[in-house]
């Protein structure tokens, strides 16, 4: 059902956990839909210097969260926001069709985190 890459990220999730005093936090989903993704970010001069995630959800939700944190770490906010759901799915070697929308939510959580960060900046 899942690609080797998805299973790798599911078995060995990168950057799982939370951060003390994060600069911003993003969250999407709710328990009734079966997926919640939380991202904790440290941002220094527009660069994402550290990122951690917590996820309630299926294998695809965990894997997409893990890969997203891996991809955006060290990138500028602008670069990070350019990463699409499609990019994530492709880099994971594809996702089952029914998981594309319900479980590929980490980029939404990232956007939420950045929106919160910008909002706080203003």
């Amino acid at each position: 059902m899942y690609s080797e890459k998805v299973m790798d990220h599911f078995q060995n999730p990168r950057n799982v956990g939370d951060l003390e005093n994060p600069d911003t936090v993003g969250e999407v989903g709710n328990p009734s839909c079966g997926d919640i993704i939380q991202l904790f970010l440290k941002i220094d001069d527009e660069v994402i210097t550290d990122i951690k995630f917590k996820t309630f959800g299926c294998g695809a939700a965990v894997a997409t969260s893990s890969l997203t944190t891996e991809l955006v770490k060290g990138k500028t906010i602008e670069e990070a926001l350019r990463i699409s759901k499609k990019d994530i799915a492709e880099k994971l070697g594809g996702l089952p069709p029914n998981k594309m929308h319900c479980s590929n939510l980490a980029t939404d959580a990232l956007k939420d985190a950045i929106d919160n960060y910008r909002g706080e900046d203003e």
Partner: protein, 417 residues
């Protein structure tokens, strides 16, 4: 310590070895989904594929031999459920077809009498979706009865739902997800002399519970071969003599005009063999599985916090069914982790149901969607051993904790307390 390590190391390594299509060392705990075919069943099916090619509808000898074999199979299955006459058994392609034929067939046959059906919220989809089809395309009205927190239907609720125009009551004998065994005899007794048909989906029950259709007063009963170590693609419907039914497959006079199509004789003879094995071994396996079931339930409750048993305890629960909700986590993650250890199980989470909503059964017994997503069903079979159960009990707490450590819900909950 070293020995213990070696033991688990060898188990894990041996689980990676596959022999043809069969994973010899898998711990298979999904017998409610399907069961491996018994060797005796396989031999029977093979024999009938090789030697009995005749069409049971043909008049020459080869055909008539096949027809006689079909009737032998009917007799065996009639004996299993104590049907009065072997001609009351007809063969289908499985439980789903039997449910469809029973419900659509009876409803359409009685449409001049009324258009109301009573069923429950915890039926198998083969019943629920068939009822929804009748609502949508044939203007039937369906009452979906609530169940209590253990999954039991109340006779008083059936009594209240019965109307002048009720034509059919369909209630599952034993639930496939949470193992609740309904008071089917009391329901049948209550419905006796009422002018309605009583159908029950006994797919999960027939391997474990001795059913007596005459005593229970059942008009229609569905069952399937592959849940009792028989072949897939074979099922049966018991149709009490005199029960009106509009066929749902047209094109031949087979099965006393109730179901057209050349009969699957090898599969049906495999079903017969599987039923013979049930009658021979049922008591033994029910006792063994009840013990392993309770060991699993007690072990999980002892070692994992916030684990909620779904369904009743004791004799009103299927002897092979264990179903828990583990709060704060999602079921598919549990299944993937178990699969890595070679343990096959199932979940009522949305991810595994093919829809966005988790199991309708878990919602019907009062769980929130969030909790229902975190369900795990372990269903035992005749070949499971105590050693396998011990292995599951040893590994499961770590798996649940690992997933909870990743869950934002778990942390929130712990901070609150």
């Amino acid at each position: 310590m070293l020995l213990n390590f070696y033991y688990h190391f060898t188990i894990i390594i041996s689980k990676m070895q596959n022999f043809g299509g069969i994973n010899m060392n898998e711990i298979y705990l999904d017998h409610a989904a399907t069961t491996p075919m018994d060797v005796e069943v396989i031999n029977t099916v093979n024999k009938y594929m090789e030697d009995y090619y005749g069409n049971p509808s043909s008049i020459y000898k080869t055909g008539q031999i096949a027809n006689n074999k079909l009737n032998e199979a009917r007799k065996t299955i009639a004996e299993l459920i104590n049907a009065n006459d072997f001609r009351e058994i007809i063969f289908t392609s499985g439980g789903t077809e039997s449910d469809n034929l029973a419900i659509k067939g009876a409803a359409l046959a009685l449409k001049d009498q009324g258009n109301h059906i009573i069923t429950t919220k915890i039926e198998h989809h083969a019943v629920l979706h068939t009822c929804e089809y009748l609502e949508k395309h044939h203007d039937y009205e369906v009452t979906y009865l609530d169940v209590d927190e253990k999954g039991f239907v109340k006779i008083a609720d059936i009594k209240e739902a019965l109307r002048e125009d009720t034509v059919l009551v369909s209630i599952i004998t034993a639930n496939n997800e949470i193992g609740t065994i309904q008071p089917i005899k009391e329901i049948g007794t209550f419905l006796k002399n009422k002018d309605v048909y009583f159908h029950t989906d006994a797919v999960q029950a027939i391997g474990q519970i001795k059913l007596n259709v005459q005593e229970i007063n059942i008009d229609l009963l569905s069952a399937s071969a592959h849940k009792i170590h028989g072949p897939k693609g074979v099922g049966m419907l018991y149709i009490k003599k005199g029960t009106k039914l509009v066929p749902q497959l047209n094109g031949g006079a087979q099965e006393r005009n109730r179901r057209a199509g050349t009969e699957n004789l090898p599969g049906i003879m495999g079903f017969k063999k599987a039923v013979e094995l049930v009658m021979e071994n049922r008591q033994k396996y029910v006792e063994k599985n009840s013990y392993l079931r309770d060991k699993l339930i007690n072990g999980i409750e002892k070692s994992i916090d916030d684990a909620v048993l779904n369904g009743p305890r004791g004799s009103k629960r299927l002897s092979n069914n264990v179903n828990f909700c583990f709060k704060y986590i999602e079921g598919e993650s549990i299944l993937l982790n178990l699969d890595m250890l070679g343990i096959a199980a199932s979940s009522g989470s949305a991810c595994t149901s093919g829809s966005l909503d988790p199991s309708h059964v878990l919602l019907a017994i009062g769980h929130s969607k969030g909790t229902a997503h975190g369900s795990l069903r372990l269903s035992l079979g005749k070949d499971n051993t105590e050693q396998e159960i011990d292995f599951v009990l040893e590994k499961l707490p770590g798996i649940i904790q690992r997933i909870r450590d990743m869950s934002p819900l778990y942390i929130k909950e712990k901070e609150r307390s």
